[in-house]
């Protein structure tokens, strides 16, 4: 891969159907990005009966492998997928950031500049997917950078590089989207349950646009704690601001009448 003048938009396609839950992506991400160990509730926590000790994406976990235990007729089956920042086409965190710390890179990814972030924390509830989080110790907001430093150096992101099954693919967003849609069509043709997560039907809905980190899922998104049809929070500014302005106008009229009447 080379960085040309016309830089292509890069992203991930993560395929739940071929994830084996090895968590190599979590480890590679932590190693490359020098992330500290997760804050642990005492005692040490695992979700369900599985091996998920990181539980959620957060300031210290930028790849999170979800383990979902499904009851079958005779035993228990696992669903697994490696969750990550979606690097949205229209990103709630980027809209919300008041300092300009969160930026759109030449790869189309969304990166928090740690030397600018002042830890206001507004990007945290502004993300429809629950990705950014304030660090315990340094007070700044953190999330996946899609390995911006590695991309600048012509390398593949650490998680995609280490994934042993090809569940995490890195490439141009347009190609990955086509590949993901093809994969879903194949699985459905074979009678399997499959969903493409990351377009305007699922995941990239209500103003968010296509996700630059897409998923092939073998269960409804909510099973993986992913919202089906999230909203871009910025869209609420207009109704809230218009209604507030109307109320302010109402106040002005009320005040004018009150003072004239009592004058």
């Amino acid at each position: 891969m080379s960085i040309a003048n016309e830089q292509a938009i890069m992203g991930f396609l993560t395929d739940a159907t071929i994830c084996i839950g090895c968590k190599a992506c979590e480890v590679a991400c932590k190693q490359w990005n020098q992330l500290p160990a997760d804050e642990q509730q005492a005692p040490f926590t695992l979700t369900g009966f599985s091996y998920d000790n990181t539980v959620d994406l957060g300031a210290e976990t930028w790849r999170h492998v979800a383990f979902i235990e499904q009851e079958r007729q005779s035993d228990v089956a696992w669903l697994m997928v490696s969750d990550v920042c979606k690097h949205c086409t229209h990103a709630g965190c980027l809209d919300a950031c008041p300092t300009g710390a969160i930026m759109r890179t030449e790869f189309g990814t969304v990166v928090i500049q740690d030397n600018v972030c002042n830890g206001c924390g507004y990007c945290v509830p502004a993300c429809p997917f629950g990705v950014p989080q304030l660090g315990r110790d340094d007070g700044g907001s953190h999330k996946c950078t899609l390995c911006y430093d590695r991309l600048r150096g012509g390398l593949v992101p650490a998680c995609a590089n280490t994934c042993p099954t090809g569940s995490i693919r890195f490439g141009e967003v347009d190609e990955l989207k086509q590949a993901g849609l093809r994969r879903v069509a194949e699985l459905r043709a074979a009678g399997e349950e499959a969903y493409f997560y990351g377009d305007d039907r699922l995941g990239g809905t209500n103003g968010i646009g296509d996700l630059h980190a897409m998923f092939v899922l073998n269960a409804p998104p909510e099973r993986f704690n992913l919202p089906s049809r999230p909203h871009l929070p910025r869209r609420n500014i207009r109704p809230a601001a218009l209604a507030t302005s109307a109320a302010a106008l109402g106040f002005a009229l009320l005040a004018a009448c009150a003072f004239k009447r009592t004058a």
Binding site: T47, N118, G119, Q133, A240, A247, F251, L254
Partner: protein, 320 residues
């Protein structure tokens, strides 16, 4: 081999009950800012109205409103800076101007309001100290107070938009009701604080039996609007209203915001306004309760947002 029993919380939806989104870290500092900033913006708006619409008899109301706005404004930047994860970098807020971020717009609005409010306060203090010697022409002064009132209304109202522009179900579900709720409660708290200042300082400012004065009309109307919007908002929230209608926080909303904050002050005002002897004490008591109710509302809405974000069913009910 026997089949292992799955945990109870491993239902058909969600991931072991884990939150689907991240809640805000905001604590009493932000609650305090919303409360103090609301009082400040509301009082400045009332003061501006007295300056623009009122005659010379309303000069006391105008002056007290602006001074209360100034005092309430003082802790606001301190609350906001201490709330930052990296307080030393608070000036980074002013390195971007971003209409897509209500927090960016709010920072700029607060900055502009602080400047105008300082000028208006200075005019009042100069007049008290030196008479009319340093007073600008009346149209200039009225324009300054009017601008300050507009900036005050912005400060009083933008916080509702700030909460609405998130993924938190409680805050984002009904943006067109949350914004006016924040504005009306800010105006009612600005009226209440100004009323305390007016009546604590002077016992014969308003004569009983002469009909309600303008401040009381605005106070009463904004309090009723606040209660009506709160009822409408919690009803319109539907299945994501839980954090503000049930449990302890539900009690705080019903008894703190509505009963203590709106019903009791209106009753006290209605009874005490008939008596010359009790009017002043009644006004102060009513205004104090009204302020307590608005503080309860700020607490309930901010802390309720964290509870709402922690509930994946609430998130999924608005994203299906």
């Amino acid at each position: 081999m026997t089949k292992p029993a799955l945990p109870d919380h491993c239902g058909p939806d969600g991931y072991y009950g884990q939150p689907a989104i991240h809640g805000p870290h905001w604590n009493w500092l932000v609650i305090g800012y919303f409360f103090a900033g609301g009082i400040s913006g509301g009082a400045a708006a009332v003061s501006a109205a007295a300056s623009v619409f009122g005659d010379s008899r309303e000069a006391r109301l105008r002056d007290h409103g602006t001074l209360i706005a100034f005092i309430a404004l003082l802790p606001c930047p301190i609350f906001l800076i201490l709330d930052l994860g990296r307080p030393a970098r608070f000036l980074n807020m002013l390195r971007a101007f971003r209409p897509s971020s209500p927090m960016s717009m709010g920072t700029w609005g607060l900055s502009v309001f602080s400047g105008l409010e300082a000028v208006c306060t200075a005019l009042i203090v100069l007049r008290w100290r030196f008479g009319e010697r340093f007073s600008p022409p009346r149209p200039v002064e009225q324009s300054l107070f009017a601008l300050n009132g507009v900036a005050g209304l912005f400060l009083a109202g933008y916080t509702g938009t700030l909460l609405a522009a998130t993924a938190v179900p409680l805050w984002s579900r009904r943006p067109w009701l949350l914004g006016p709720l924040f504005l009306s409660s800010a105006i009612s708290s600005g009226c209440a604080a100004t009323s305390i200042a007016l009546h604590a300082g002077n016992s014969d400012s308003h004569e009983a039996g002469a009909g309600p004065d303008a401040l009381t009309v605005i106070d009463t109307t904004s309090s009723i609007a606040k209660a009506a919007l709160l009822a409408g908002w919690t009803t319109a929230l539907g299945d994501v209203a839980g954090p503000v209608v049930s449990g302890q926080r539900g009690r705080i909303v019903r008894e703190g915001c509505v009963l203590i904050g709106v019903v009791a002050p209106l009753a006290i005002e209605a009874v005490s306004s008939r008596s010359t002897r009790w009017q002043r004490a009644g006004r102060i008591a009513a205004a104090t309760l009204s302020l307590a109710g608005t503080l309860a509302l700020r607490y309930a809405v901010v802390s309720g947002g964290a509870a709402s974000a922690a509930d994946p069913r609430a998130t999924f009910s608005v994203t299906r």
